[in-house]
């Protein structure tokens, strides 16, 4: 059932802020507390806010189950793919091949307390993005499926 106009406008204004905050937590997982799982849960909470403010029937027209399932599959395959790519470099499975290598996320980090740089981290930021995608798609899909099972009470 649709909520009133004030609630809908407030959800419209708050949801981009929640989305950017969740993506910030995912992206800076190797510098500050956070990471893939925590950021994905925050973004799924923002999606739950929109589903509650607008009724389920309306949100069902915007989000399709296949796109969310595809997002989840891309997340899990990306995680396994980044780990399998280490075999192409001649090392073992799950070896950190981007650490201190000068390419994508490869600045070396000296020992000790420092103000962190975003360019460090090896393949940990790539894995954070993959896991964030997977948790976002998975939790939103669970919320949508459970909302579809609510029966209308005969009053």
């Amino acid at each position: 059932m649709r909520m009133s106009r004030i609630v809908r406008v407030a959800a419209d204004l708050v949801y981009p802020a929640v989305l950017i905050f969740g993506l910030y937590i995912v992206a800076h997982g190797h510098l500050t507390p956070g990471g893939g799982f925590q950021g994905g849960a925050v973004i799924a909470t923002g999606a739950a806010l929109v589903i509650v403010a607008y009724s389920y029937a309306e949100v069902r027209k915007w989000l399709s189950g296949k796109v969310l399932m595809g997002q989840e599959v891309i997340g899990l395959m990306g995680f396994i793919g980044v780990a399998l790519l280490a075999l192409a470099f001649g090392q073992v499975f799950f070896f950190n091949y981007l650490n201190a290598s000068g390419s994508l996320f490869g600045t070396p980090v000296p020992y000790g307390i420092n103000a962190g740089e975003l360019n460090t981290g090896g393949f940990v930021p790539l894995m954070n993005f993959s896991v964030g995608c997977e948790v976002w798609g998975g939790l939103t899909l669970v919320i949508l499926y459970m909302m579809s099972g609510i029966q209308k009470e005969a009053t």
Partner: protein, 95 residues
């Protein structure tokens, strides 16, 4: 009523046993810290991250995270199987 009384008495005895064990642990000085001292000393040069929890989750113990992602994926598939129709459609009646 008798079954519940027996259950609660046995649970109290088990909780007393747990409490004796909990009193003998020391809070604030862990027993063995060799592995974590290695992670804190060499984590920054071997993984290149500042956050040691993330480096342990994704690099030093990455197989646990792989299993956990698979469990979450299978749980979402399980929920999708329970609600096989979304918003309309007729109900399937097997045989």
């Amino acid at each position: 009523m008798k079954k519940e009384v027996v259950m609660i008495i046995s649970l109290v005895i088990i909780s007393a046993f747990f409490m004796v064990v909990a009193m003998s642990l020391t809070f604030g000085s862990p027993a063995m810290t060799d592995m974590d001292d290695y992670f804190l000393r060499y984590g920054q040069e071997q993984t290149g991250t500042n956050n040691q929890c993330t480096s342990v989750t994704f690099d030093f113990r990455g197989f646990d995270t792989l299993g956990e992602s698979t469990v979450l994926f299978c749980a979402v598939i399980g929920v999708a199987l329970m609600f096989r129709r979304m918003q309309g459609g007729e109900e399937h009646e097997d045989e």
